[in-house]
Symmetry: D2
Subunit: 147 residues, 4 copies
């Protein structure tokens, strides 16, 4: 019980820093802040989930069955990280750069989410990771539409 | 109002995935899960804050005054990212590897937090980033003590 | 003289490891190895040059004039890194993933190379970085055409 | 023959950019440039080799035997990348930051190099990666001694 409360407040503090950093920026971009915040968080969340899922797949009894999943997880993590970092920058914001990496991120999350979904029944970590991929794909799509 | 609710639920969902990934791992390490979760989140939060603070410093009217802060922000982000990723892996956990990067992360967060604190009165983003650095430093210390 | 020789042999050793890793892989992809090797190296080179150029711009007397260059350098570095890592993986190679990040990398290198070129006369580090961007853009284009 | 020449010149061009970026920096640190160049290259080389070795291990017939090697490869890559980036920055160089990450990098390269060496007879990619780890460990040690 106390444990759950502590974790929730930790999650809220996490949220606060991303949000506060965006709010206190001296020269914010014209990008919709709501969609941007959602997308930065979704990218960081998805990158972490993918790293974690690759590792969980490797810890399964038969990692040989999870080779494609591990590989796509690692690729997707690399792209989500890059996207989360680029979107975190507001100074001299370049729409063409954001668009390029967002499009790659949509593709990566779709490929990785599809693969994770295939294992979602058998492995709960793949189900969680598939959810993170779907949410990130949607957040990127929304930001592409808003930009 | 709706905005705040949406963001809060987004923050909680962020939390849920890290936590769920740890919970559903097939071969978890013996590291205290509470301290581990807190530390992974603090590292990811601090990395994002540092990237964001470097960018905010660059967007100030006189970035020449913020050169040391930008530089330490970028370094600290690199180390926090590496730490967050290494801690996200549970399979074949190697305490000596975790310890090595946690010690570097403590040093990085202290150096960067000290520098941000010098500008905290004048620039709110440096105050937010200093908080993120302090929390990450403490979370790393706690994990080092727990391991 | 001895200095130059040492560095040259160091550069050759760098080359040897990437090349050897590709050569000794148990299940290589069908991607043209020549083009792949060139592209991995160009991505790693460009990422390093961009990180270095952002830092050199920050060390100039008037960093305020270099804000856009620093920002694009950091973005381009993030994308080149991701591309170099994804291309370094041969197991369960997914052409759609490689294509997505290669297209983003072409765009990033063009944007960053164009910006660096604007400062190439005044700042030699921008000229060097522009060259690294052009080479990486071309290597990505070549790999996209070969795939 | 033509192939080898092209690759060699490509390797030399890789070298030239790192070296040129260091040479053209407007405010270089007082760190020994020779040792610094060697160390940046060794870190980038080792990060790439580790990513590649993790992937090659995953592509072996029985990846379940390579779990610890894959895991240490991924960790070592994360630390080498961070080290290579931090060392690439010369502006407002902070010795304590460099020292912290160099010490972590020495530990990471030793752990990963030891593991790779255990498989070096059976798997050539592990032998190549072990070499990259040893070289990086030594380059970091040399820079720590020179600083």
């Amino acid at each position: 019980m106390a444990r759950v409360e502590q974790q929730t407040s930790s999650g809220q503090r996490f949220l606060e820093h991303v949000q506060q950093m965006l709010r206190t920026h001296p020269s914010p971009s014209s990008v919709n802040r709501e969609a941007l915040l959602e997308c930065i968080q979704a990218c960081l969340d998805c990158a972490q989930s993918c790293i974690s899922c690759a590792d969980a797949c490797l810890g399964e009894k038969e990692p040989s069955r999870m080779v494609r999943c591990i590989r796509l997880n690692l690729d997707c993590a690399n792209i989500c990280e890059a996207t989360g970092k680029i979107l975190s920058r507001q100074t001299a914001f370049e729409p063409a750069m954001a668009q390029a990496i967002l499009q790659a991120c949509v593709a990566a999350c779709r490929l990785c989410g599809d693969e994770c979904e295939r294992h979602a029944q058998a492995m709960e970590h793949c189900q969680v990771c598939a959810e993170a991929c779907r949410r990130c794909e949607q957040a990127c799509q929304r930001l592409l539409a808003a930009a």
